[in-house]
Structure formats: C-alpha cells, structure tokens
C-alpha cells in the first residue's frame, strides 16, 4: 500500500523548520524568507498531483534547492553556478550518490528522484519547477550519460 498523502498542514509543519534551515544556510536570513514562502507555495501548487505520500522530505528539499539555484541563476545571468549550490544541496540517495555525482545538477536530481525515490515524472517536474516531460528528458539524458561513463 502506498503511503497516504497527508493534509498539507501536516506536511508543512513537519518540514518547515528544516526547509528554513536549508534556505538560511544558502541564502542568508532575509532572502531565505522569500524563498521559504516560494518553496511552500510551489509545493502547494503541485500537491494535488502527488500520487503517494512517500519521500516528501526529499521532495520539499528538492523544491527548496531548485529555488536556491533559480536565485543564483538570476544573480549570474551568464549561467555560472556557485560551487556551494551545485555540490552541497543536490538530493542525496546513498546508493545512487557515488554513481551520479558526476552528472549535471538537473539530470542528477531527475535520476535520483526517479530511481532513488520512485517519484513520478510529474512530481519530479513539479519539484524542479518544470514539466513532467522535461523531467523525463533530464532523467533519460542522465541515464544515457551514466551508461556512457560506466561502459
């Protein structure tokens, strides 16, 4: 049986402190407050499309991380990524970590959420701030890259 999706209130109360700590560390308090609100609004927009209630912590942190990345991208329009955000804060899944460490952030996030946490492409798309089909493409590009690297 899939884990039931909890009422959003429960999800929010369970994860708000950790999400705030995560954002505070990366953005500083002032910017973290805006990012906090955006994280949970984005989660709320996707919440009725969730298929089960598993791995919601990873899902929430992935959305928060995506917002951190968006923030840095806006600050550096040339697309340069800070080390901190790309290395530190990508979703972790122990078994997949050593394998996927070399992937670009978006592909890695898609591969880890798909094969580590078993999220649907729609859910991954919502977490990454894009669409289900973009998430599918990112995951399969990641897998192709891994095949090549490990061939």
């Amino acid at each position: 049986m899939a884990v039931a999706i909890p009422p959003f209130e429960t999800f929010y109360e369970c994860h708000k402190v950790e999400v705030m700590a995560f954002l505070g560390k990366r953005l500083g308090r002032e910017r973290a407050e805006d990012a906090f609100q955006e994280t949970f609004l984005r989660a709320l927009r996707a919440y009725d499309r969730l298929e089960h209630g598993e791995h919601l912590r990873a899902w929430a942190l992935t959305i928060a991380n995506r917002i951190v990345l968006d923030h840095y991208r806006r600050q550096r329009p040339q697309g340069e990524m800070p080390e901190l955000a790309t290395n530190d804060s990508r979703p972790a899944f122990e078994e997949l970590a050593p394998l996927t460490d070399g992937l670009p952030p978006k592909e890695r996030a898609a591969v880890v959420l798909r094969y580590g946490y078993g999220l649907s492409y729609d859910e991954i798309g919502a977490a990454l701030g894009s669409t289900g089909s973009a998430a599918r493409q990112a995951a399969s590009a990641g897998v192709r890259r891994l095949r090549k690297e490990h061939a």
Partner: protein, 187 residues
C-alpha cells in the same frame, strides 16, 4: 534558523490569496459553546466542529475535500464575525453559504430543508423527514442531524423530539440547550 510567526502567517495568507487551498481552517476561541474548529472552501463553509483539536479533523477534511488543507485565518474572518454576531444575539441568520457538496444526496436534501428552519423556532425529526420527501425516515433524519458537518449555521439544534424532549446533539445536549435558550426558543 527558525520560522518566525510573521513569516508563517504570511505564507498561510498567501496560500489562501492565491486560491491554492481545498480547505482553509482555523480555531475560533471563546464562544459560549467553547472553541470551534471551522473550515471553509471557495464555495462556503464546510465544517464547524465542537472538537477544536485539528489532529482529528484534518484527515477527514482532506478525505472529503482534497489534501490542500491549511490553517489560514483570513478566509475564516467573515464566518468568525458572523458567529460573533450570532452569539451576541444580533444575527438571526448566516450569510455565509454552507458547502455540503461532499455529503451524500439524501443528507444534502435533508440539510437543505433544515436550512429553512428559522431562528428561534423548533421543528421535529418527523416533520423534517416529511418536508424532505421521506415521511418514514425520522430516524435517518436523526442520523443526518448527528453528522451535520456545519452545526449552528445549519441549525440542527432546532430539531427536537415530537414529545418536546431535546433528544440528542452531536455537540452534546448542553450545547443544544444553550443555543435554543440564546435564540429564545426555550426558557
């Protein structure tokens, strides 16, 4: 780094303003019948509970209306004001619409008839059954009253036994008696 109360409230308000909630709920403290948990959808009021502990209510609200259930004070303000006026004796009917979409068809029919029972008046289970087109269903009407999702606004406290006894109330007979006294329906 903690989530400040003002940030918390800002998020809860923004969630409602953006229309992202299936149910916004809050606790209305200090009414003459105790604290109430109240829930509203975009269509109206879907829940008034005499048990203000959200733990027991949230799962049920999510099951009936969708998982985006969040405490948010603003959407509940209008109902809060109307309840204040009602308990002060200044309001005799509610302008907020009840939202009973999640109820079974028979319950909706009975609750629609119940909504027509005026302030300060009582009726009986049998009479309400008759008005609902099910004259033999007084007991079933009793069950619908007992499960009324929005007591007070849908006035199941105005339904009593044919012998004049108060019979029963989902929130306890003390509350039923208090509401009927407030309305001047009993002395």
């Amino acid at each position: 780094m903690n989530v400040s109360p003002s940030l918390d409230e800002r998020f809860r308000a923004a969630a409602a303003v953006e229309g992202l909630l299936d149910v916004a709920y809050d606790v209305v403290d200090d009414t003459p019948v105790g604290a109430l948990l109240v829930g509203v959808t975009d269509r109206g009021i879907c829940r008034i509970s005499f048990d203000p502990d959200p733990e027991r209510e949230l799962e049920e609200l999510a099951r009936l209306h969708g998982p985006r259930v969040l405490r948010s004070a603003k959407p509940v303000d209008r109902l809060r004001r109307e309840l204040d006026e009602y308990f002060a004796g200044r309001r005799h009917h509610f302008d907020v619409e009840p939202d009973v979409r999640a109820q079974p068809a028979f319950n909706r029919r009975v609750l629609a008839e119940l909504a027509r029972v005026d302030y300060g008046v009582t009726t009986t289970y049998g009479a309400l059954a008759k008005q609902s087109g099910a004259p033999d269903a007084a007991r079933a009407v009793g069950t619908v009253m007992n499960r009324n999702p929005v007591p007070i606004v849908l006035p199941c406290h105005r339904v009593i036994g044919a012998n004049g006894k108060l019979v029963g109330y989902g929130g306890g007979l003390d509350r039923k008696e208090l509401l009927l006294r407030l309305e001047g329906a009993i002395l």
